[in-house]
C-alpha cells in the first residue's frame, strides 16, 4: 500500500515538475524535496549531480556558446533546465532509495511476476557478465586490442543468449510443476 502511494506520489510530482515552468516554483519544489528526504539528501544529491553531469554539461555549454554568439543568451533557460533535470533525477533516486517499486504492481499478478523474474535474472546476469570482462583482463596486456574486445563481447553475448533461452524453458517448467498455469496442457 505504502509503495503504491509512493509510486503515485512520484508520478504526480514528475508531472508537476514538467508542467511548471516558473523557476521560483521549481526551486521551491527542490527545497521541499530536499527537506523531505532528510539525512539522505546530500548522498542523493551527489548521485543525481553525478548522473546528469555529462549530458547537462554538454547541453549547457553548447547552449551558452551558441546563444552568446547570436546575442540571445537567456540565463533563465539554463537555470530552469538544469533545475528541472536535477529535480527529476533526484526524485527518481529518492523513489528508488525508499520503496520497492514493484510491490506497487501487486494489482496485476502477471506484471508483478514478470518484473520479479526479470529483476532476478538481471542480477544474476550482471554479476556473471562482469566475469567475462575480468577474465579477458586477466590474460591481457594493459591495453586490450579492439579485436579481442569484440570477440569477448561476442562470446558474452552468445553465452547469455543461450543461457536466457535455457532458463526461459526451465522457468516455464518450474512454474508449470507448481501449478502456476491455470489451464492444463
Amino acid at each position: 500500500m505504502k509503495d503504491k502511494a509512493a509510486l503515485l506520489l512520484y508520478a504526480a510530482a514528475v508531472l508537476c515538475v514538467t508542467l511548471v515552468h516558473d523557476i521560483r516554483f521549481l526551486a521551491a519544489g527542490l527545497a521541499a524535496t530536499l527537506l523531505f528526504s532528510g539525512r539522505s539528501a546530500p548522498l542523493l544529491a551527489a548521485r543525481a549531480g553525478r548522473a546528469i553531469l555529462v549530458f547537462n554539461g554538454i547541453v549547457s555549454v553548447s547552449y551558452a556558446a551558441l546563444a552568446l554568439l547570436r546575442g540571445a543568451f537567456q540565463p533563465e533557460f539554463l537555470l530552469r533546465m538544469n533545475l528541472r533535470v536535477f529535480l527529476l533525477t533526484y526524485l527518481a533516486f529518492l523513489l528508488v532509495s525508499r520503496v520497492k517499486p514493484f510491490r506497487a504492481l501487486s494489482f496485476s499478478p502477471a506484471l508483478l511476476h514478470l518484473f520479479t523474474l526479470t529483476y532476478g535474472q538481471i542480477i544474476v546476469f550482471r554479476r556473471l557478465f562482469d566475469d567475462f570482462r575480468l577474465a579477458l583482463k586477466s590474460r591481457s596486456p594493459a591495453r586490450i586490442g579492439t579485436r579481442d574486445l569484440y570477440r569477448n563481447a561476442g562470446a558474452a553475448g552468445s553465452f547469455f543468449l543461450e543461457k536466457a533461452l535455457h532458463s526461459s524453458t526451465e522457468i516455464a517448467d518450474a512454474m508449470r510443476s507448481r501449478g502456476f498455469f491455470r489451464d492444463p496442457r
Binding site: A51, F77, A92, V96, I122, A153, G157, M175
Partner: protein, 215 residues
C-alpha cells in the same frame, strides 16, 4: 543512447505514453498467443539478456567506447515485438530500480529504440539476407541504431517549437532540428559500426551453435 529525464515536454511524453501503452499490450498479447505459458519467462530472460547487451562496451576508433544497445540482435532473432517489449522493460527497470534513464522520456526512448530500431533491423535483415548473411546482420545492427538515433534527434529537436514560453524561450531543450540531427547522427554513423559488428558476431556464434545442436 537515450534521452534522459527533463528534456521532453508533456506535450510529447503524454501522447507517447498512450501510444506506447497500446503497443505494449498488443505486443504482449501477440507474444502470449505465440508462446503460451512461456511468454512471461521468455520476456523476462530476454529482457535480462537485453540488459546485459547494454552493459557491453563497444570500443570505437579514437580510443573511446560506448555501450551497445543490442536491438539488432533481439529483433533479428526474436522479432520486432519481442525487441520492443524487452527494450521497454529494460528502460522501465532502469528508471524504477536503478534510478537511471528517465521516466518522462521512457516512451519516446522505447518507441525509438525498441519499435522503430527493431523494425528497421528486422526489415534490413529480411531484405538483405538472401544476398549476404553477414552483411544483412551488420546492416540490421547499424540501421537499428541509426534509425533510433534519428527518431530521438527529431524528438529532441522538436522541443523548442513544441514548448516555449510566451517570449519565445525554449522550455525543455534549446536546440532545433538543424542542431540535433547532425549532432546525434554523425557520431551514430560510427557507433552503428560497433553495433553492426556485435550483431554479426553474436548472431554468428548463435547460428553455429544452433546448427550443431541440429535445430
Amino acid at each position: 543512447m537515450h534521452i534522459p529525464d527533463g528534456f521532453i515536454s508533456p506535450k510529447m511524453y503524454v501522447p507517447a505514453y498512450v501510444a506506447a501503452a497500446g503497443l505494449w499490450s498488443y505486443g504482449l498479447g501477440r507474444l502470449r498467443r505465440n508462446l503460451d505459458d512461456e511468454a512471461i519467462p521468455r520476456v523476462a530472460v530476454l529482457t535480462a539478456f537485453s540488459f546485459v547487451l547494454m552493459m557491453i562496451l563497444l570500443p570505437l576508433p579514437g580510443g573511446t567506447s560506448v555501450h551497445a544497445a543490442g536491438i539488432g540482435i533481439l529483433a533479428v532473432l526474436f522479432g520486432v515485438w519481442t525487441a520492443f517489449l524487452c527494450v521497454s522493460l529494460v528502460l522501465l527497470l532502469q528508471a524504477l530500480l536503478f534510478g537511471s534513464g528517465g521516466i518522462t522520456s521512457l516512451p519516446v526512448n522505447a518507441l525509438a529504440m525498441g519499435l522503430i530500431g527493431g523494425a528497421a533491423a528486422a526489415a534490413a535483415y529480411r531484405i538483405l539476407r538472401p544476398l549476404h548473411e553477414r552483411a544483412a546482420l551488420f546492416a540490421a545492427g547499424w540501421l537499428s541504431i541509426n534509425l533510433a538515433a534519428l527518431v530521438l534527434a527529431i524528438a529532441l529537436g522538436a522541443q523548442p517549437s513544441l514548448a516555449r514560453s510566451p517570449d519565445g524561450t525554449p522550455l525543455f531543450f534549446p536546440f532545433g532540428l538543424s542542431v540535433t540531427i547532425p549532432a546525434v547522427m554523425i557520431p551514430h554513423a560510427i557507433i552503428g559500426v560497433g553495433e553492426g559488428a556485435l550483431t554479426v558476431i553474436v548472431c554468428g556464434i548463435f547460428a553455429r551453435l544452433a546448427k550443431e545442436r541440429g535445430s
